[in-house]
């Protein structure tokens, strides 16, 4: 057990800390390496929105922006102050929705993103891996090749393109699903069957566009994995032993191929999160992506920083939790 902690757990905890460290550090230094003065550029943006301000409030705003960027004091001081905010997840009030704190805005958007991301990732991983596994096992069949061609067409397409194509096809050309939003415009969230159904109805298109792209990848990687596993001795042995082919497919081939597939699921959360963000922008879905989009448009720097740091923390935590569950499905790690 002690060995397990040392060999398996310790590197993962270190990785967790390093991910957050790098993420926060990049977020801290990015504005500082830019040739543009971020305060001036933000001011220009705010003024560009048509707000007229008296010189005094301009100066005040500049001060508060400087404070937000952490531009007061020496660099190490700024860095420490930034960490303090990252650790306490306190990014001050939003500039445009003053005085709502950023954390409250993030808290409001996070469930939508999480719901969309987790469901889409789960469905695409399960379905893609399953289909890829079966198609890999029956490699020479026609339908297997057909599915592979489909996956090869889907996988390389970026999330944005798939989202907008879905929207055009199934919301404009064939208006089957709503164009955007998470629930009908003007209604208030309530706990009723009708409302839940309409939430589902609104989630289908964004979800579908994430699922289709994701499935392409999970299908292809599982299929490649299966064709490697099928050549392993234990599969040949089971075939010679007359073990039923259903059992060989599921308990031998798929069961072993799923292990690397799980590891790459952990690694993919970050990039699927990026996909979810852009999908939300396309569908006007009230998650972190839309919050970020609005913050960019209005130059709400504290919200941008808050969303970025909190999403890094959230994703690193998700990866850590999944890593801790992993030994349950791989006996080799459990017993080491």
């Amino acid at each position: 057990m002690k060995q397990f902690l040392l060999i398996y757990l310790a590197p993962r905890l270190v990785q967790y800390v390093v991910v957050i460290f790098i993420g926060v550090t990049v977020a801290f230094f990015a504005p500082r390496f830019s040739p543009v003065d971020p305060v001036e550029s933000m001011m220009a943006k705010v003024e560009g929105l048509g707000m007229t301000m008296d010189p005094e409030s301009v100066a005040r705003m500049k001060e508060s922006l400087k404070d937000l960027y952490g531009l007061g004091g020496s660099l190490p001081e700024q860095y420490l102050a930034f960490w303090k905010r990252a650790v306490t997840l306190d990014f001050g009030p939003s500039l445009t929705s003053f005085p709502t704190p950023v954390s409250a805005l993030v808290k409001r958007s996070l469930p939508w993103t999480l719901g969309l991301l987790a469901t889409a990732l789960g469905i695409s991983w399960l379905l893609g891996s399953f289909l890829g596994g079966v198609a890999g096992y029956f490699e020479s069949r026609k339908w297997s090749k057909f599915l592979e061609a489909g996956a090869m067409m889907m996988y390389p397409i970026p999330y944005f393109i798939s989202a907008i194509a879905m929207q055009i096809l199934l919301a404009y050309v064939f208006p089957i699903f709503p164009v955007g939003g998470a629930y009908p415009f003007g209604t208030l969230p309530e706990f009723s069957l009708g409302f839940v159904l309409s939430i589902l109805q609104h989630a289908i298109l964004p979800g579908l566009s994430l699922v289709l792209i994701g499935m392409g990848w999970w299908f292809l990687s599982m299929k490649a994995m299966i064709s490697r596993v099928v050549a392993e001795d234990y599969v040949t042995f089971a075939q010679a032993g007359g073990v039923s082919s259903r059992k060989i497919l599921f308990s031998y081939a798929m069961r072993n191929a799923i292990l690397p597939q799980v590891t790459s699921l952990f690694m993919a959360i970050g990039s699927v999160f990026s996909g979810a963000i852009i999908t939300e922008v396309v569908f006007n879905y009230p998650g972190l992506g839309l919050l970020l989009r609005k913050a960019i448009a209005t130059g709400d720097y504290s919200v941008i920083m808050g969303v970025i740091v909190m999403s890094i923390v959230a994703i690193a935590s998700a990866v850590l939790i999944l890593d801790l569950i992993y030994p349950l499905i791989d006996p080799r790690i459990r017993r080491k």
Binding site: M152, P156, F160, I161, A165, G270, R293
Partner: protein
């Protein structure tokens, strides 16, 4: 040349990729003969559906979409090549250093590397692009490259690890060849073909990133790229106003490019797969 002939004759994927690539190359070439400048407005009648004169129609800003797209494809491809080459340099350095030093430096580098895989890249790119708002596409290519090397650094590291243990490495080392020299002279040539395949997939990733960032309005909106064209189309609500061609053609073209690049990389991968190569070598021997 022989390899090209072989691939064209016997690999459907490669044939598709080759066809798509020819179209892309043709468009890039045509951009130099465009009758309209890349940034000119109101040079053709606005908002015309596709016709013989304007095969892809015109947009509400009075621009011909076909000719606009030729510039966009050129710029997007340049961006992709920049992003892929810069990120390859980073990946090679990180991968080689980690693979050769091994031990603690390797662990540190790989932990950093995996962090870059886990961290959601888009928000950070969004942050950078917000601050640098409206940077030219070639700078954008460099910035995208800074975040697109981690997967391939891992690949190069594992290649290095296996090459390091080969007999010829030991022979070279004990006959007095410096490690630096061995790496550059003996090992890099092994990696070049594999890097080729990763360049393709990295290019398609970079083009996708550019589109994503541009559509949120973070690119320099005056220079046409695939993303910028889509940005203007959505700014003018082209779907709501019924000017479908404004979005349809750039989207179809990008999808074509993505699929083409991906097929290129998979068919190259198969061609360069060590097992496939081994078969080709033994086949040559028996000929």
């Amino acid at each position: 040349m022989d390899a090209l002939k072989k691939l064209l004759k016997h690999d459907i994927r490669f044939r598709w990729a080759f066809g798509i690539f020819s179209v892309i190359a043709l468009m890039v070439l045509l951009s130099f003969f465009s009758p309209y400048g890349a940034r000119e407005w109101n040079v053709v009648p606005a908002t015309q559906p596709p016709s013989l004169q304007h095969p892809f129609g015109t947009n509400s800003m009075g621009q011909d979409i076909f000719w606009k797209l030729t510039f966009a494809v050129r710029n997007s491809m340049i961006l992709a090549v920049i992003a892929a080459s810069v990120s390859r340099v980073i990946a090679i350095i990180v991968g080689l250093v980690a693979g050769y030093l091994g031990g603690i430096p390797d662990r540190i580098l790989m932990t950093v590397n995996d962090s870059f895989i886990i961290i959601p890249i888009l928000p950070i790119l969004i942050l950078l692009s917000t601050i640098l708002s409206g940077i030219p596409f070639y700078y954008l290519g460099c910035i995208i490259a800074l975040f697109g090397w981690s997967q391939d650094a891992r690949l190069i590291r594992s290649l290095t690890l296996s090459l390091r243990e080969r007999t010829f490495t030991h022979t070279a080392y004990y006959s007095g060849m410096g490690m630096m020299k061995i790496v550059l002279r003996e090992h890099l040539p092994y990696m070049v073909p594999i890097l080729m395949a990763t360049i393709m997939s990295n290019m398609l990733w970079a083009i996708g990133m550019e589109i994503t960032l541009a559509v949120i309005g973070l690119a320099k909106v005056e220079t046409p790229t695939l993303g910028v064209i889509m940005y203007w189309a959505s700014e003018y609500n082209s779907m709501l106003t019924g000017t479908w061609w404004w979005l349809f053609f750039p989207i179809s073209l990008s999808v074509l490019i993505f699929i083409g690049l991906y097929m290129f990389s998979t068919s190259l991968n198969r061609f360069l797969d060590p097992r496939t190569r081994l078969m080709m070598i033994s086949e040559r021997k028996s000929e």
